[in-house]
């Protein structure tokens, strides 16, 4: 599927010698190979838009007698140069006119330039969203992440297929509102609630406790104000969550496996599990 791109050894060695990391040097050396082969095919790679617009601005300013440097195309908020890094309205008007070709080449971009779309470079730095995020160690989604996801999907898919081949979903006898079955249980994920129903008034066990529980769960990020995500800094939070999860799991296990006819306590080895999925 993928053609292996050879590494431009010369570029690679130069970058390594300059102290660039191995991974980046490899990527840049590959890019160099591709660029060479494109030029060999006769493709014109052209100048970079930012370079050209920067040069044009510099020329314009020196022709106007100003000594500012070209900052208009920098997006890093580098506020040197005249006008605090912004183009003056005059400059802007001149550049727009120049790139639209309505005025003879006054600022270096030929009026008949085929590069009129480089208007992009006219956006003043203040108009550009400045994203401040730290450089992170990242990898390409394709192929790395998609491969992991595909494997996970295959594993889960085959697990389910095998289970479905050997285990049949239950189907009891026809529903009969007049005949309450001896063992009468909710689905397993609600067994915690049914177990609570044993100890509390139905309104408390069936409405108040689950209601408060859900609201508390939603409020977790607003209650836990600790900015650290490291386990060693959030022992209380982890302990509390583990406590509730364990408590709930125990209720579900008791309800599912240790309750029999009439919802009375039974041991599985005396009367079986009384549990259907």
């Amino acid at each position: 599927m993928a053609e292996e791109v050879s590494i431009d050894q010369e570029v690679y060695d130069r970058l390594i010698a300059a102290g660039t990391s191995e991974r980046i040097a490899r990527a840049k050396a590959k890019a160099a190979t591709v660029r060479k082969s494109k030029i060999a095919e006769g493709a014109s790679l052209g100048p970079r838009p930012a370079d050209q617009a920067g040069k044009a601005l510099e020329e314009y300013r020196s022709s106007q007698g100003g000594g500012g440097t070209a900052v208009a195309t920098k997006t890093g908020g580098d506020d040197t140069g005249n006008g605090g890094g912004r183009l003056t309205p005059d400059e802007r008007a001149a550049r727009v006119a120049a790139s639209l070709g309505t005025q003879p080449s006054s600022i270096g971009v030929p009026a008949a330039s085929e590069h009129t779309h480089r208007l992009l470079a006219l956006v003043p730095p203040a108009g550009i969203q400045q994203v401040q995020s730290k450089q992170m160690d990242k990898v390409y989604t394709w192929p790395h992440l998609l491969l992991v996801e595909f494997v996970a999907l295959l594993a889960m898919g085959s697990l389910l297929l095998i289970a479905s081949f050997f285990l049949d979903a239950p189907l009891g006898s026809l529903a009969n509102p007049n005949q309450v079955p001896a063992i009468n249980k909710a689905p397993w994920y609600f067994m915690g609630l049914q177990e609570l129903l044993r100890y509390f008034h139905p309104m408390v066990a069936g409405v108040t406790m689950p209601g408060v529980g859900v609201v508390m769960l939603m409020a977790v990020p607003y209650i836990d104000k600790n900015p650290s995500a490291r386990p060693e800094n959030r022992k209380v939070a982890n302990l509390a969550f583990t406590f509730f999860m364990t408590f709930w799991t125990i209720l579900v296990i008791i309800g599912s496996f240790l309750r029999g006819a009439g919802y009375e306590w039974v041991w599985p080895w005396t009367q079986g599990l009384g549990f259907t999925l």
């Binding site: 292996e4 990898v139 989604t141 790395h144 992440l145 898919g157 509102p177 689905p187």
Partner: protein, 256 residues
């Protein structure tokens, strides 16, 4: 005058190098002629793909480690898709009708298990998949908690997650009634009796959910519509918000 059969690479070139193929696969697609394993083409493969709605071009390296997400969110989503597909299959053979003399729903269930081609297998997949989804969503929530992955700016996505958890439970619970056997009827009775204890509006809530004072044919129809249409629809909307927020909040959290 025997002609040499075209070689595999001739066929591949001809298939890939035409107007139709190129109109389907955007530049950078790995199926397009000339894909090369370079940074540029890897970036384009994600950027020019419908998956760009879900995945950025690059992801944090630590997020790839199996032990960071355990793929639990992804697996929950996969199970949701699988349940949609198997559920549509089951809908072809199921009518939500019950009542003395017209026990169609239950009869349909027997037919699906006994005589529909692959019916039993698909029903099993749907049933075990539903249990598995409840389980993976729970575990996903736990892993998000232990990573503190709900901390700013991800607070609201946790709230969206809790709503997704409730929707998952509701999907599972409404489906539980549909076989219309003793198991379904009485499990659902236990659940809906509790709703009757809602303060002030208890009786009204129960009446609306059951389509009457007790579980009957109306309940079956009501829950069927909720199960196959309404709750999945709402879930898809919340899933869209959930995935969108993951990207807007700066991708996966961490490293710890």
């Amino acid at each position: 005058m025997a002609r040499k059969p075209p070689s595999f690479s001739d066929v591949k070139t001809n298939v890939q190098d035409n107007v139709i193929w190129k109109s389907i696969f955007r530049p950078g697609s790995i199926y397009r002629k000339g894909y090369r394993d370079t940074s540029r083409d890897r970036a384009l493969a994600a950027m020019n793909n419908v998956l760009y709605h879900l995945h950025p071009v690059k992801v944090k390296r630590h997020g790839l480690k199996l032990t960071y997400t355990y793929c639990l969110g992804g697996l929950s989503f996969f199970l949701f898709i699988l349940l949609t597909i198997t559920g549509i299959f089951l809908m072809f053979f199921y009518t939500p009708a019950a009542g003395a003399g017209t026990e169609i729903a239950y009869a349909n269930m027997r037919d699906i298990s006994a005589s529909v081609t692959f019916g039993n297998l698909v029903r099993n997949l749907h049933r075990w998949g539903a249990h598995a989804m409840v389980f993976t969503v729970f575990l996903h929530m736990a892993r998000v908690f232990y990573h503190g992955a709900y901390k700013p700016p991800r607070e609201f996505n946790w709230v969206v997650g809790v709503i997704l958890l409730l929707l998952t439970l509701l999907l599972s619970f409404t489906g539980y009634l549909l076989p219309w056997d003793q198991l379904a009827l009485w499990a659902v009775t236990v659940g809906t009796n509790m709703m009757g204890y809602t303060p002030v509006f208890g009786e009204q809530v129960q009446f609306v959910l059951l389509g009457g004072v007790s579980i009957g044919p109306n309940t079956l129809l009501r829950w069927y519509v909720l199960h196959v249409l309404f709750i999945p629809f709402v879930t898809v909307i919340f899933l869209a918000v959930h995935f969108w927020r993951i990207r807007k909040d700066g991708g996966i959290s961490g490293p710890l």
